[in-house]
């Protein structure tokens, strides 16, 4: 029982990281209607920036996190302006291939700058456990902070999208780009802000993920990125609560699958879930049904 609970908690904690990444995916997909394949690699860049701040410059953890958020925000805007904006009118195949190219570019650039050898990430959260149930159940501080951070991010993002003027513009653009433009919404600015927020969230996710799993290499972001996309699809792409729910469920499925079925097949479970969801409910758990128009 305590074993199950501790697995469940580490699943929720991993799922919270996926959820934060998935939020970035889902917002970009909802608004720009594109799959930002490079999103996973922004996570990796965020983690490296934080690593450099802590290890090379000796700055306090809070400054490291803020710096990595700032760099990733700029990076997100830059990627959107340089690579995706010229392709607004192109086919989705062209945009997807460009995004894959961007992902490769970031990975290889990181390899040139920081080398291919894995670096061991210094956790930004004090190590240690919270002991419950007479010492049987241990919850690490990292898990607790991760879960708390994801709840805060989720609430803040919901308020931002639901209440603020920019949030309303985002919802308009995601509904109908042309109509939004006619109503005086600055579409380019809205898309840039979306990329900025998504990338800042990716930086947070990168730092949290590397605090829990402390190996950092240029390909660190690739797999979590793909899994987070899976989570976004699972919850219904374009939906913010959906990304959160999908992320947490996926994390729990992965950890429980590894623990109780087969440790080698953890990733296979995640992808099998994706395929099943797309076949049974193509719009995801909380997604809206889209009608095909001729």
């Amino acid at each position: 029982m305590t074993m199950f609970l501790s697995n469940l908690i580490s699943g929720i904690s991993l799922g919270s990281v996926y959820a934060i990444i998935a939020l970035g995916y889902t917002m970009v997909y909802g608004i720009a209607k594109m799959l930002n394949f490079a999103h996973g690699d922004v996570i990796m860049v965020g983690a490296y920036i934080c690593f450099c701040c802590l290890y090379n410059l000796g700055l306090p953890p809070v400054v490291g996190v803020l710096a990595s958020m700032a760099v990733c925000t700029l990076l997100g805007i830059l990627i959107e302006r340089l690579a995706y904006k010229p392709l607004r009118q192109a086919t989705s195949l062209a945009v997807l291939i460009t995004a894959i190219g961007m992902s490769y570019f970031l990975q290889n650039l990181a390899q040139m700058i920081w080398g291919a050898n894995p670096k061991s990430f210094q956790t930004v959260i004090p190590a240690g456990n919270l002991t419950l149930m007479g010492g049987e159940l241990k919850i690490s501080y990292v898990s607790m902070v991760t879960i708390a951070a994801s709840v805060v991010v989720m609430v803040a993002l919901s308020l931002f999208v639901g209440r603020s003027k920019m949030g309303r513009a985002m919802r308009c653009v995601s509904e109908d780009k042309g109509a939004a433009q006619l109503m005086g919404v600055n579409v380019d600015l809205t898309i840039s802000v979306t990329f900025a927020i998504g990338s800042a969230l990716a930086a947070i996710a990168g730092v949290l993920m590397c605090s829990a799993y402390p190996t950092l290499k240029p390909t660190t972001g690739a797999m979590p990125g793909i899994k987070a996309f899976t989570a976004a699809v699972f919850g219904g792409i374009g939906s913010i609560p959906g990304a959160m729910l999908g992320g947490i469920l996926l994390g729990v499925i992965e950890i429980l699958g590894r623990a109780y079925v087969s440790s080698e097949l953890g990733d296979a479970f995640v992808f099998a879930v994706l395929i099943l969801v797309l076949l049974i409910k193509p719009t995801g758990l909380l997604g809206k049904k889209i009608h095909e128009k001729v």
Binding site: P86, Q89, L274
Partner: protein, 351 residues
């Protein structure tokens, strides 16, 4: 303006002529002893990657579906081929050429079967979702291969899941893959496989089914309204592509003495996709040239190997941006119109 029969003939048969000419040049260089050893070792992989690129072009270019799991089919073909070749040698005692033939056929069939199984769910989806699900399948294949153990005991093949304690000699052991494979792949076999692939793909494109596949690519709803069985034709392209990838994989597997499932990761799929995109989506000759040049160049320029992938990435992005740039498109259109006007003045002979 009429196109002359000569240009039509050339357009259809140019890929064959190119491949045959390249084969004879390489063979005469080997015979004359002027080909360096390093270049010689690249010949078989180049053949394999041409097969991979042409077959992926069938899915991406002709059928218009982005597949990100092509290396998955390649790995199935490779490991099936290795097991079948070892079985044919030990249990049937056939000569190497026949072993190779069995391996390639078995690899193709196995990958084709997987293509059907994967195609059924995948082809119900479209666009980005289809791409991500093919990626997911590629990863699942790699994950499952990591858990499979196959051994040969006398004339009996044993399979197991996650248990290496099998009787006889282990042919394939999960994450450590296949070791001690006898390298029976030959350049001639590679050349013949490339010709076979071209034959299948080009004939498919120029057939009734090929036109149906392209019609579905261009407008699915219109094609459906014309009474085309969309699923059947999409499936035809997808499974043919998978089977050809499996055959290429079998040849690839028998060219190295050790092979692990990790060789066929997502990056391998992307590499093949890069060949297709840079060669021109839907252009078979382009795929052949791109696969050859992009495989040989980095191997010959080992000094720049560190920058290879970075340059790939930049070129990939640049090609997509340039080919989708509206002003460049307009400029090319004007050029084309001008040359058309000129050829019309000459009475259509200059085409």
């Amino acid at each position: 303006m009429k196109k002359t029969t000569v240009t039509k003939f050339l357009r259809k048969f140019f890929p064959y002529i190119l491949v045959i000419a390249a084969f004879f040049i390489c063979q005469s260089m080997i015979a004359a002893g002027t080909m360096p050893r390093t270049t010689k070792s690249l010949l078989i992989p180049v053949c394999v990657y041409i097969v991979m690129a042409v077959s992926l072009n069938l899915t991406v270019g002709i059928s218009g579906e982005l597949s990100l799991g092509h290396a998955g089919f390649m790995s199935i073909g490779a490991f099936t081929g290795i097991v079948i070749a070892a079985y044919a040698r030990q249990a049937l005692g056939v000569p190497e050429t026949v072993q190779l033939l069995f391996a390639i056929i078995a690899g193709g069939i196995m990958a084709g079967i997987m293509g059907v199984l994967i195609g059924i769910p995948v082809l119900r989806l479209q666009g980005d979702y289809l791409a991500i699900v093919t990626l997911a399948f590629g990863e699942i294949i790699r994950n499952v291969l990591n858990c499979i153990y196959i051994s040969l005991d006398g004339k009996v093949l044993h399979f197991s899941f996650n248990r290496p304690d099998l009787p006889g000699k282990l042919l394939f052991r999960g994450p450590t893959g296949a070791t001690g494979v006898s390298r029976i792949a030959t350049f001639t076999a590679g050349f013949l496989l490339v010709l076979f692939t071209l034959f299948v793909v080009i004939n498919l494109i120029h057939s009734r089914s090929g036109r149906a596949i392209m019609a579905i690519r261009d407008n699915k709803i219109a094609a459906e309204a014309c009474g085309l069985d969309v699923t059947k034709y999409r499936m035809m392209a997808f499974v043919t592509s998978a089977a050809l990838a499996g055959m290429g994989g079998a040849l690839f597997g028998l060219n190295y003495s050790t092979l692990v499932p990790a060789n066929f990761s997502f990056n391998a799929s992307i590499l093949i996709l890069v060949y297709v995109v840079l060669g021109g989506i839907g252009n078979i000759t382009g795929s052949i040239i791109a696969a050859t040049v992009l495989y040989v160049l980095p191997e010959e320029l080992r000094a720049f190997a560190d920058y290879r992938m970075l340059v790939y990435a930049v070129v990939l992005i640049a090609v997509m941006l340039i080919t989708n740039n509206q002003s460049i498109k307009n400029f090319l259109e004007t050029l084309r119109e001008r040359s058309r006007e000129k050829s019309e003045k000459k009475g259509g002979e200059a085409a």
